[in-house]
């Protein structure tokens, strides 16, 4: 019996030590939960000019803080907090402060549903800012409709914002940047019209909706606009080695290969293609920025990829936000997700400001659908009431120079039929 008690005591001690280590790391490095595991709150600003009897507006924030996309997720969460702090410091929403409650979805669909339920059922939030992750967000579509909770995020898969079969927008889901297809059309337009390329390949993770929803529209667009798709190679989530697919693409030898995964997979795809002897152009999605540049092992050349913001340009609206993010968190390199979180929150705050009753999800959603020329770090955001996605927001085309510095080389704004 004594031995068993000792054993249990030892297990408890180990657990406490591990949690202590984890919380130490969190508080020193990351904008991590402080009140309870997986939950972080930004309290209303002390001394702000808000009548004391006005209850704060509760805003939920679901991001990947510890999953496979946590580097982007933490930057996103920071951007949301930054926007909320700015708004609270400026007096809040019509005199009411914003209380932000952040939860970790760990890039997992079930964890995302749990986080959503806690925010809606326990914390009674008025609205939610979502992550740049389509898989968890897809699971919220029906929940948000049922609970009438407006969600603005960067889940780029079009199926999160519009019904795939009917094409109608889901009433409570909103995207604060161009969708996957819009972004794919942008890089395809650049490849066809500016680079004059004719034949293409695609190389993507068939188990990642974000990647699939880039690759398929890309192939469709180039096929309909004078290009030919010579190779469409995929791998699965959990696969580690994609060299066989790279060899196949290299043998087809298209003018360009479009790679559309998250950064780590993009780096592997790029390396495998170059190692297989492919010397053509590489086209990339908007995750070819860091940490791609720190993961890739072969020389990066003749590579063009998408960017939402020109974050290293002091003239850009995004520059100050990214700089503040790096200064506050000690991040080693700029990351556009700080801007994503900021933009989604800014769009949401503008709608909440116009609402007579911020807890009326139907009213807030209707106002979000009418979002027009809201100033964000990506530029002026206008949402299409038909699709709940942005219209007229340009995508930037970037490449790395000989010193491996990211430079913007062009900007593509899609025509009407493509939005």
């Amino acid at each position: 019996m004594k031995k068993q008690v000792k054993l249990i005591a030892m297990i408890l001690v180990v657990m406490m030590v591990v949690s202590a280590c984890a919380s130490n790391k969190d508080t020193t490095k990351d904008p991590e939960p402080t009140t309870a595991p997986g939950v972080d709150t930004v309290e209303p600003t002390a001394g702000a000019e808000a009548p004391a009897d006005l209850a704060p507006i509760k805003l939920g924030n679901i991001q990947d803080l510890s999953g496979g996309a946590s580097e982007a997720g933490k930057a996103n969460a920071w951007g949301v907090e930054y926007a909320v702090k700015q708004a609270n410091a400026a007096g809040g929403i019509n005199g009411r402060q914003i209380e932000l409650i952040t939860m970790d979805c760990k890039n997992d669909v079930q964890e995302g549903i749990n986080a959503y339920r806690l925010l809606v059922d326990e914390h009674k939030v008025d609205a939610i800012i979502g992550p740049p992750l389509s898989n968890p967000a897809l699971a919220w579509v029906d929940l948000a409709t049922e609970d009438q909770i407006p969600i603005v995020g960067h889940f780029m898969d079009e199926r999160v914002t519009t019904n795939e079969e009917t094409g109608e927008a889901y009433p409570f889901m909103f995207l604060a940047e161009p969708g996957c297809a819009q972004q794919s059309y942008s890089i395809a337009t650049y490849a066809l019209d500016t680079l004059g390329l004719k034949t293409f390949g695609t190389f993507y993770n068939a188990g990642l909706s974000y990647a699939v929803q880039h690759a398929l529209p890309f192939a469709d667009y180039v096929s309909k606009n004078g290009g030919t798709v010579l190779a469409e190679e995929t791998f699965q989530t959990g696969d580690v080695d994609y060299r066989a697919q790279a060899v196949k693409i290299a043998e087809a030898n298209p003018d360009a290969v479009f790679i559309s995964n998250y950064a780590a997979d993009n780096a592997l795809c790029y390396d495998y293609l170059r190692e297989a002897g492919y010397e053509g152009t590489i086209l990339g999605n908007n995750t070819f920025q860091s940490p791609f540049s720190s993961l890739v092992k072969t020389k990066v050349y003749d590579t063009y990829f998408l960017q939402n913001v020109d974050m290293e340009n002091p003239e850009s609206d995004s520059y100050d936000i990214v700089k503040a993010y790096m200064d506050e968190t000690g991040a080693k390199y700029p990351i556009a997700n700080a801007c994503f979180g900021y933009d989604a929150t800014t769009v949401m705050i503008e709608a909440l400001k116009k609402a007579k009753d911020t807890s009326d999800g139907v009213e807030v959603a209707a106002l979000l659908a009418q979002t027009k020329d809201v100033q964000t770090s990506s530029g002026l955001i206008t949402l299409n009431p038909e699709t709940h996605r942005t219209i007229g927001l340009p995508m930037l085309i970037a490449q790395y120079d000989e010193n491996f510095k990211l430079i913007i080389v062009d900007s593509i704004t899609l025509g009407e039929g493509l939005e």
Partner: protein
């Protein structure tokens, strides 16, 4: 037949072989599947990465391999001391080994996640010339080096097992530990040495995997699956069988992905494993398994 694919398959198979042998060597002695081997590989990958990253100028590869081998050895001995040894002393059923190894595998991955998150890290590029051409095939310099190191390690390992007294003791204990004890073999020391050897192999595998792929907590676990398949096809507990099966597995995987696609390939690989279990459960080699029977 595409030479480039064959070479890629052999180099992939060589890494699988290192993993499979580390897995098989423990099975041969203790008759349980050490799933903690995947966790040990992941831990060693991080150690290799941070060791390299701690120097302004990247240290030579052999230095990193020596450091991670030593680290792997210590991790293996720690796991044995805090987990497996007490199971052994109590003569507990094999299911306790199994549960302990699974627990260690999950624990190591979670600890890595707590401290480093799930963010991927990348080893710095090691070679100026990334690939070279042989008979029209582009051979990656890194793959070639990984293949050479894997072959060298496997040769040394087989020499230790086949030509030294210690190797003889391992083989004797793997066939029958009680008879081995009657013959004067200290089976406790042999078991500890076996774990140490598995740890060293985890250290080397971790370094090579980290060099080739991205570093993340689940890397070792993902690769161990292939090691387990190779070990089963080779004959559970048979090292030479595991090596042959691993090389075949690497080539079959490459050809299958190339011709049939990535979604079908796992079905093919697990199908081959099941086929062996049904038709020839002792695997390609099967020597030790038959002896045990």
């Amino acid at each position: 037949m595409n030479l480039q694919l064959i070479f890629n398959g052999i180099s992939l198979g060589a890494v699988y072989a290192l993993i499979a042998v580390g897995f098989a060597i423990v099975f041969s002695i203790l008759k349980f599947s050490n799933f903690a081997h995947g966790g040990m590989i992941s831990a060693c990958t991080y150690i290799a990465y941070f060791f390299q990253a701690s120097f302004a100028k990247t240290p030579p590869l052999w230095v990193t391999i020596v450091v991670t081998s030593i680290a792997g050895l210590f991790i293996a001995l720690i796991l044995d001391t805090i987990g497996y040894r007490s199971v052994r002393r109590k003569n507990s059923p094999n299911i306790y080994y199994f549960v302990t190894s699974i627990t260690f595998a999950i624990l190591i991955e979670q600890i890595l996640t707590v401290f480093f998150g799930k963010t991927s890290y990348g080893f710095p590029a090691m070679f100026e010339k990334k690939s070279f051409e042989v008979l029209g095939a582009n051979i990656s310099t890194l793959d070639f080096v990984i293949l050479l190191i894997s072959i060298a390690i496997l040769i040394v390992l087989m020499l230790v097992i086949e030509k030294t007294k210690l190797g003889l003791a391992i083989r004797a204990v793997s066939i029958d530990s009680k008879t081995g004890r009657l013959m004067g073999i200290n089976s406790g020391s042999v078991i500890i040495f076996t774990f140490a050897l598995a740890g060293i192999l985890a250290g080397i595998s971790g370094t090579l995997l980290g060099m080739k792929y991205s570093v993340y907590p689940g890397l070792g676990g993902s690769m161990l699956v292939k090691g387990v398949i190779a070990s089963t096809i080779g004959g559970l507990g048979s090292m030479s069988g595991a090596i042959i099966a691993a090389l075949l597995l690497g080539v079959i995987e490459m050809l299958s992905v190339y011709n049939l696609g990535s979604s079908v390939t796992p079905v093919i690989l697990f199908g081959i494993m099941l086929l062996f279990l049904f038709i020839r459960p002792q695997g390609i080699s099967g020597k030790y398994a038959q002896d045990k029977v």
